[in-house]
């Protein structure tokens, strides 16, 4: 079973990634790929890749609200009794996964980057310790939960134009006495460059070592006529606005080329750019995880390389 995430109008790409994997596992283990859809049930029409859509609608579910989703999902799990529950490893998964592990009494594997069925057993690969260690673990028992890193499974495998059976599930009464409420939704600030629309990005990380040094890479971005983007530490330090942040809690980008300087490649950053067509990474640490997704690696100092690039591009 996959917990669907959506904006109210559109099912998220991550949901399709999970659904594709659910279909694969259902075929291997013998079962169905079901989607739990909370909120407006007309979104079921976007879930052609599912065998069954379990729909729960209630005013408390009109937006994502942790307690409402948790109550609804607990009720659905008790009724449908899936073998495996799949959720994203983003905010929703971080809210619900571990709580449901306790409430549903099911082992949970978090930070999952791989899931396979082996003779009736579900085996997860998870990345921990900043991506430095991978763990291969069995979700033993009749039920399990996996929260999956975004961008790892192909979304296209979860899309389809079938007609799933839609089961209208009664909203549990707990939804009428929640202890939390959504007061306000703050949308991301627009008005700045949309880095997700750029053909190419020049991206900068902690290695830039100071706001004053940003102009070095900005010059390259300008010379190439493309926006400057960044990893989280640069944005957290206030050197660039949030709209430039590439990564799990920023934006996902898929440009034709991604040139990054001084970015080590923490898993949360890789999640935001690993599917770029051409990745050229510059980092003086040859062991930096960014090199695991890069197509080309440069270990020269960025403060030497970037000016040399500017000269060649302009000259």
């Amino acid at each position: 079973m996959v917990l669907a995430e959506h904006t109210g109008k559109q099912i998220s790409e991550g949901t399709y990634e999970l659904l594709g994997k659910a279909r694969e596992l259902a075929a291997a283990l013998g079962g169905k790929a079901e989607v739990a859809l909370f909120g407006p049930s007309d979104l079921a029409s976007q879930l052609g890749g599912a065998d069954v859509v379990v729909s729960v609608d209630h005013p408390a579910l009109s937006d994502y609200l942790p307690e409402a989703y948790e109550q609804a999902l607990t009720a659905v799990l008790a009724d449908r009794d899936p073998r495996l529950l799949l959720m994203s490893n983003a905010t929703v998964g971080l809210d619900l996964g571990a709580a449901l592990s306790v409430r549903w009494q099911a082992p949970l594997a978090a930070y999952v980057t791989g899931l396979t069925a082996e003779a009736g057993l579900v085996v997860a690969t998870a990345q921990i310790l900043g991506g430095k260690v991978l763990a291969e673990a069995e979700l033993t028992g009749e039920r399990g939960i996996a929260t999956v890193v975004g961008g790892v499974f192909p979304a296209v495998a979860g899309q389809g134009d079938g007609s799933p059976e839609v089961v209208e599930f009664a909203a549990p009464t707990a939804l009428d006495s929640l202890r939390m409420s959504l007061r306000r939704v703050v949308e991301p600030q627009g008005g700045d460059v949309d880095i997700t629309a750029a053909d190419m990005l020049v991206s900068v990380g902690r290695g830039i070592d100071g706001q004053d040094n940003l102009e070095v890479v900005q010059e390259l971005a300008d010379a190439l006529g493309v926006p400057l983007s960044a990893s989280r530490p640069v944005v957290d330090a206030g050197w660039l606005p949030k709209s430039r942040q590439v990564g799990k809690s920023g934006l996902k980008v898929k440009p034709k080329a991604y040139l990054c300087f001084g970015i080590s490649g923490a898993p949360e950053h890789l999640e935001g750019m690993r599917n770029a067509e051409l990745i050229i990474a510059c980092n003086t640490d040859p062991g930096a995880p960014i090199f695991e997704v890069a197509h080309y690696a440069a270990t020269v100092d960025l403060f030497d390389l970037v000016p040399a690039l500017v000269e060649r591009v302009q000259g």
């Binding site: 942790p66 571990a98 949970l108 997860a124 291969e136 809690s249």
Partner: protein, 250 residues
């Protein structure tokens, strides 16, 4: 508050490769717990609330972390024993839930996650054991009315402002400001004054766990082709690559 392996260091595996080898690892305080403590102190600054820092006795250097919390402004610190030394988050949550059932707090604040959270994250597990409302990935907490208002962060810069009644559990992603600094002298003062309360707790029933088959270091994908030469030669190669794709004029 929790100790985790320092990620700057090389991580070794145990001989049977089912876990990381903790014996020679350097441990540091979980950075998200550091953010959680700062956010707790900000709530204290605004409301005069009492902050109690809590850690598990088996964590390396936990005394240091707890005294540092006191030096930063926590009113008290408690070291909890009673578990079997398991480092699984599920088992830690069960022990902490046992403690919190006998010594409840209005608001339990902890880091949203830790780098070694293979089996899940602490805040939702605590909340589930205790039957409390919870919100994670929080970047700001303010007392309001009969509870708190929190800011929950989503991908792409979107936020939700939620109100929840207390008692509740909050998983902090980042505090509203960088964690404050406690001078070593003040930490030493706290150590000399003592006052770390030690207590034993009975763990709640933990969740069935994962069976870890093995842990391993990721193989470098091997596909990154190293561009050799000095900066100028590397620059020439990069520009060629971009030109070949029509991304640079000329």
């Amino acid at each position: 508050m929790k100790a985790v392996p320092d990620l700057v260091e090389e991580i070794e595996l145990t001989p049977d490769e089912t876990d990381i080898d903790r014996e020679f690892l350097k441990f540091v305080l979980n950075e998200w717990d550091s953010q959680a403590l700062e956010e707790a102190l900000l709530v204290k600054d605004a409301t005069g609330a009492e902050v109690v820092a809590v850690g598990l006795a088996e964590d390396p250097d936990i005394d240091q972390a707890l005294y540092t919390a006191i030096a930063k402004g926590a009113d008290a610190a408690v070291k909890i024993s009673g578990g079997d030394g398991s480092t699984r988050t599920g088992d830690r949550a069960a022990l902490l839930a046992g403690y919190l059932s006998s010594e409840p707090a209005d608001l339990v604040i902890t880091g949203v996650q830790a780098a070694d959270d293979l089996d899940g994250q602490l805040p939702p597990m605590l909340a589930a054991h205790l039957g409390l409302p919870h919100v994670s990935v929080v970047v700001g907490i303010e007392a309001s009315g009969d509870g708190v208002t929190v800011r929950q962060e989503f991908t792409g810069g979107r936020f939700h402002e939620l109100h929840l009644t207390t008692p509740a559990v909050v998983g902090v992603q980042a505090a509203r400001q960088a964690p404050r600094y406690a001078p070593i002298s003040r930490i030493r003062q706290a150590m000399q004054a003592g006052g770390l309360r030690e207590t034993e707790a009975a763990p709640a029933a933990a969740v069935p766990g994962l069976t870890v088959r093995r842990m391993y270091r990721p193989q470098a994908a091997g596909r990154a082709q190293l561009l050799t030469g000095d900066a100028d030669e590397v620059a020439a190669k990069i520009v060629d690559l971009l030109r070949g794709r029509g991304l640079v004029k000329g």
